[in-house]
Each structure stands twice: as structure tokens, then as C-alpha cells.
Symmetry: C2
Subunit: 404 residues, 2 copies
């Protein structure tokens, strides 16, 4: 009997919207967004919020309830907003995904209703996975509250939690219905979270857009704590989010069936360093180190020139990033050791599948892919960063001593 | 700041292949299929098998190992095949999904490696969910071993497990890389599983294809146990699978973002009856009853004419289907009661989302959608089936007495 051939395409679209005072009853953005993406009224909603956000915005739950009350008849809160812990712990214990899935069942949220998640990248990753798997996918809106999630993790198509000692081992590709960035969440971030997300902007700038890197370089002192200027930060978030969104659709492989993932520049080391520090090092901080390491390596390998390397490292340092931690130098002579930074290369390869692909910078704004690396040279790159940081004594953020 | 608009399409394709003696070393189908869909050699594989299949084919594991040995260099078994229970129990306890995800991690199966599942629909549903969520999706091949999974559940794009007392509450849409139907698995099926899957063929025939219904009607006695003729069964499986596959792609909504699901004809009652009998009633048997019930209702509502109804019910009866069980008549006056068959209507609506949509037959080969039902008339339809079955005393399959 002849084979039966199946072939189809599925179209996805969503918007990343920018606003302030999202839950002010006068702000119709959310209500309009929900109605546009709904098939029925009132639109039924379940809301989950990051504990860290609630701590800094104690009136948020009341504001949300008042907002839904104001738009009663159009919007309907299925039950009280749920609160979950913020940060990586919410991805390390599967109970939170289970709790959200159970809430979807209990509250009668169906495939035409919405699960709205408000929080940092970890909460959004976790909630997105719950939304994607309950009823094989309920409608999902992300409201990212950190720089990192507003410009990077929150605007993409991936979700996930950690399992079996592997970051994002469980997850799916599931585009949200919308992403809403409210700038009013940013002032209450601590300095580490304000700063951390800028590393993802530097990442896309370095591999894609020289002018954007020059913008960040120019405004580094204003962006850095304690100044934390609003205007350049909004520009950095917008441009980074725009390039991230564009990248996903432009390269023809949004759900990553191939091997190349340019947006993972600097990430092999970052993921490993997060795990080595039990996630005390935050993702954005780890990405800063990962990029710095791969830039030094690219220079030592004869790719990136010295003045460009210096501009990159100096920009990170002016922003207040620590570019070295002690966990980096353990077991470097044994790349298979679970606590060796270099083990991160194989773990990274395995998670992506296929052959190892690492991006190396050629110049600021352009990168190449390599499929083999020189451990000896990477070891020198680690030493380079250690010596640089020690000589400059840039230890202000207290992460330098993080141990394995 | 202007909204950032994301828009892209993802293309999916796979083949449903037909063969016999799949793991005979002389049969290159699997090896070719794997190589065609792989990016690297050797192709790494993890295999999970339904306990029920192993019981009937005790040499299967050895055959698989010999096959992989024969194609060493091209194919590589990552570890011994895993055995999981067959039937609905494998979807009722989340430990099996967890076990497979853990095996993917342990065996180093990445997004370019394959998880192959061999078994009935329940095992395929469960394994497909594990494959879709580990590493955000490893490549997945389904080898269905029952009539039902070869002609219906195994050839589609859905997976899932049961949770929170709701069938398929957790799952995703994730097309396999290939489906391989080996007819040699069918002779060892018990009569209930041989027969059950035919109900899905009757389903697509009734809503789409008069001639296909007439074929099943013509060969009903040969298809039925004890004859169990191979040739008409192969035709029934092929046509049903072909129409199922075609339906998914043709109607523009393969991942079901809308409300209409014509392939769920007869399924609102079927899902509820499975739950009411703690899955002692098998899916195909339940679908037979569900279709019979909706056909009687359509007739009572003035839609389907009496001769057509009689042809449909008689065809089911000649195949040996029981069209009534006692669990159907409990709490019919209280549609909200958890043990009322009618509660299945709301549960069905909730799982699909949006408004209730039930398909009713207009004629053999054509159906219409309705969004409201008459409970009184449905109650009469239940009585109609009860009286018919009692008067004919067609109780041969031992499922008639299944109680809530």
C-alpha cells in the first residue's frame, strides 16, 4: 500500500506591546488585547504572578481585581490570582507547573480562555509550559517584569522547566497570544536584575548590529546603577526585543529543528555557570560572563582584534558586570567532570542536538560558527578574565566569590 | 513605542507507511525511514514498547536488537528497549511520562535522535507527550499495533495523558516524523481490540464517505470475529487513516485553534463512558456506542431517516459491538452530576473550548454541526438503545453489565 503523505503549515502571530500603568482602569490595552484574541465574551482569565513582583507591588492584586471589575462583562477573572515563587526555584520543582495545570482544570479555563503570567523570565518559562500543555494549549499572555524577560526570554516562543540536572530539559515551542511590556515594573528591580538583562542586548548587538552596540557603549554609564536612566533602557529593551522577534521568524526555523542557534551566543558557558552556582548567578549575569569568555577566546584564536575585545569588556565593566567567578576554573583539565565549566560544551550540544555549534565574534556586529573548540585556548581565556578582574579588583557586585 | 509584530509559519510533514515483518533484517523500511529523517549517522534511538505487545510477541525485543545490530553503523540503540503497561493505565499515572523523559536524559537522546514507540493508542499518546516535551521535542516515530491506533489515533498530530479526572487533559500537538503500520501486529489482538478500531472507520465513513460506509457494511461479517479477514481489514485501516490524515491538513486548523472538530463525531459520550467505566470500556467500543447514540438522537430530532439509522445500527451489531451499557442511564435527570452521561457534554465543550459543538448525521456520508442539544430527546435515545439491545439480547461481549 502506498505511503499516506501528510503535509501542512501552521501560522503563528503575536504582538509585543509596550505600555505603562497596565492595570490602571483607564488603560484599555489589556482589555482590547484580550478581546482581539478571544472568540467569546466575557473573556475568562486565570492570572499567575511572581512572588517577587507582588512583594514590590503590594497593590498589584487589588489593581488587577479592580481592572477586571471595571471591565466586567468583557473580562472575567476565573479565580483569585495565584502567586508562585520567582527565580530559578520555580523551574527546579515540577510542583509549580502541576499547580498551574490543576488551576486551569479547577477554574474551567479552556482553549478559548487565557492564562496570563506576570513575572520574571523563570516564572514566564514555567507558566508558559503549563499553558502549552493544559488542554494541549490554552491561550497565553506574558507580562514580563524584568529587563531580561522584556527584551529576550519573554518575547520568544520557548518555555520550559529544569529537570534531570539539565536546564530547560522539559518544555515546548508555543508562541504566546501577546506579550505586554509595562515599564513601571522596572524601577523596583534590584541592581543585579536591572543590569543583568542588558547582557542579552549586548549579545544581539555584537552578533547583528554594530550601531546598537555603539549605542549601549555610549550610554553605559547612564544605564548602569546607580543612575539607571529610563530612556536609554527603554531603547535598549525595544531594540533587543525587536531583533530577537525578527530573528525567530527570519531564519526559517522558529522551532529550531536544525542545529544553529545564533541567539545562544555566549550561552554554553552561561547555562553551565548558572548550574555550577546553583543559580545564585542569575541568567543575565552568566550571559555577560559567557559572552566575555567567548570574546576573549575569539581574540586568542585570532578572530576578534584587541581593540574590539577591549571595547566589549570595558562596556560590560562600566555597566558593573563581573566577568569572572571562581567556579570557572575548577576541573578545566577534565572536560567530562560534572563540575568542569567545559562540560557545559557537551551539555549544550546535547540539548540542541546534532553537532556542537559555537558562535565566535569576527568583528563587533558579525559572528561566525565553529564546530570544534580548543580547550587549551579556552583555559587561557579563563585565565585572561581572572587576571583582568583581579588586577582591576572589580568585585563590587559580590558575585565574584561564588563557588562550586 | 510601536508594537513589535511577530508572524511566521511552521511546516510539518510526515508519512504513514505500511509494511509487514518490520523488524525482519531484510526489511529496510525502518532503517531507510530513520536515515531519511536524520541529520547524522549513526542514528541514535530509544525504543519504548507496550507490555501487551511484548506479551504477544515475546521475540520482539530480540528482533529489534538483531535489527539494530544488522544495521550497526547506520542505527544505534541507545539502551535496552523500555517496557510500559498498555491500555489506559499508562495515561492515568504521570510516572510513565516521567520515566520516558528520564530515559531520554539518561540515554543522551537529543533533538536529532529518535524516540520510537511501539504499542496501542494509549502507549503512543503517552510516549508522544514525553517525546514532545523532552528537550522541547525529540524526533518521534510511532509504530501502532492495534486497529484503532493504525487507523486513527496513531496517525494524527495529538498526544496526551489523563489528569485531574479529565481525559487527555495534558498533552500537545506534535506531529511525528513517521508512522509505520505493520499488519503483523493485528492477528494477536483480542477480539475486542480487533473490533473496537473499526468504529473509527465507521465514524469517518458516516461523516465523509458513503461508499466507504457501504464497503464496511458489505464486509461486516468477514471483518467480525471469528472470521477476522485480513484483506477487508487492511482496506478499512488504509481508508480510515487516509481520511484522517487528509482531514487534519485540509481544514486549515490542524492544531485546533477553532471550535469545530468533526473527527470527534460520537466522542462526547465515548469519553464520558470510558471514564464512567474506569476505562474497562475501551475507546473503540465507547466510540461505537457514542456514534450509535448520536445517530439515534439525530433520527429522533428529525435529521437522520429510519432506514439509514437501521443500516448503521445493524452494521455495528453485525460487527459484534454492544450499543448500550448500564452506566448510560444513571443520573440522566441531573446533567451536572459527575456520574451522569450528560455531564460529558459540558466536559467535552470545556476540553475543546468555546461553544458546544456536536455533530449530527443528516444522511450517511454527511453531517451537520449543532450547538444546542435537547436532554429530553437524548434521554429517549438512551432508552431506544437500551430497549433495542435488551430485545435482541446482543450481550455477547460481556461489556453490557459494566456499572458506574
Amino acid at each position: 500500500m502506498d505511503p499516506i503523505r501528510q503535509q501542512f503549515s501552521v501560522s503563528y502571530s503575536y504582538e509585543v506591546l509596550f505600555t505603562e500603568a497596565l492595570f490602571d482602569t483607564g488603560n484599555r490595552l489589556l482589555s482590547e488585547c484580550l478581546k482581539t484574541n478571544a472568540t467569546q465574551q466575557p473573556v475568562r482569565l486565570l492570572v499567575v504572578i511572581d512572588q517577587g513582583v507582588v512583594a514590590h507591588h503590594p497593590n498589584l492584586i487589588e489593581q488587577i481585581q479592580a481592572y477586571m471589575q471595571h471591565y466586567a462583562g468583557e473580562l472575567e477573572l476565573a479565580e483569585e490570582p495565584l502567586i508562585v515563587p520567582g527565580g530559578e526555584q520555580v523551574k527546579n520543582d515540577p510542583v509549580y507547573v502541576y499547580t498551574l495545570q490543576e488551576a486551569v482544570a479547577r477554574a474551567g479555563i479552556d482553549r478559548h480562555s487565557f492564562l496570563i503570567a506576570i513575572g520574571g523570565g523563570a516564572v514566564l518559562d514555567m507558566a508558559g509550559f503549563a499553558a502549552a500543555t493544559a488542554h494541549r494549549g490554552v491561550r497565553h499572555i506574558r507580562i514580563p517584569t524584568t529587563v531580561l524577560s522584556q527584551n529576550d526570554s519573554g518575547v520568544g516562543v520557548k518555555n520550559g522547566i529544569n529537570a534531570f540536572n539539565s536546564k530547560n530539559f522539559l518544555g515546548s515551542f508555543a508562541p504566546p497570544v501577546a506579550v505586554i511590556n509595562d515599564k513601571d515594573f522596572l524601577p523596583t528591580l534590584d541592581d543585579r536584575d536591572w543590569r543583568g538583562g542588558i547582557s542579552e542586548a549586548i549579545k544581539v548587538a555584537l552578533i547583528k548590529d554594530t550601531a546598537f552596540f555603539e549605542y549601549i557603549e555610549k550610554y553605559a554609564d547612564e544605564l548602569a546603577p546607580p543612575t539607571r536612566a529610563d530612556e536609554p533602557m527603554q531603547h535598549v529593551i525595544y531594540e533587543c526585543a525587536r531583533m530577537h522577534v525578527e530573528h525567530i521568524s527570519r531564519y526559517g526555523d522558529p522551532f529550531e529543528s536544525g542545529s544553529s542557534r545564533p541567539l545562544d551566543f555566549g550561552h554554553w558557558a552561561a547555562h553551565k555557570l548558572e548550574a555550577l552556582t546553583n543559580y545564585e548567578l542569575r541568567h543575565g549575569e552568566a550571559v555577560g560572563i559567557g559572552i566575555a569568555l567567548d570574546c576573549v577566546y575569539a581574540h586568542l584564536a585570532g578572530s576578534l582584534d584587541q581593540p574590539s575585545l577591549e571595547r566589549i569588556l570595558t562596556t560590560f565593566e562600566r555597566l558593573g558586570f563581573d566577568l569572572y567567578i571562581d567556579a570557572m576554573e575548577g576541573h578545566l583539565d577534565d572536560p567530562a567532570h560534572p563540575k568542569s565549566l567545559f562540560r557545559g560544551l557537551e551539555e549544550f550540544r546535547e540539548h540542541l542536538g546534532g553537532q556542537l555549534t559555537v558562535m565566535l565574534l569576527a568583528t563587533i556586529g558579525d559572528a561566525i560558527e565553529v564546530h570544534e573548540v580548543d580547550y587549551g585556548l579556552y583555559k587561557k581565556a579563563v585565565s585572561y578574565l581572572k587576571e583582568r578582574v583581579n588586577s582591576k579588583a572589580i568585585k563590587s557586585n559580590g558575585i565574584l566569590g561564588l563557588q562550586v
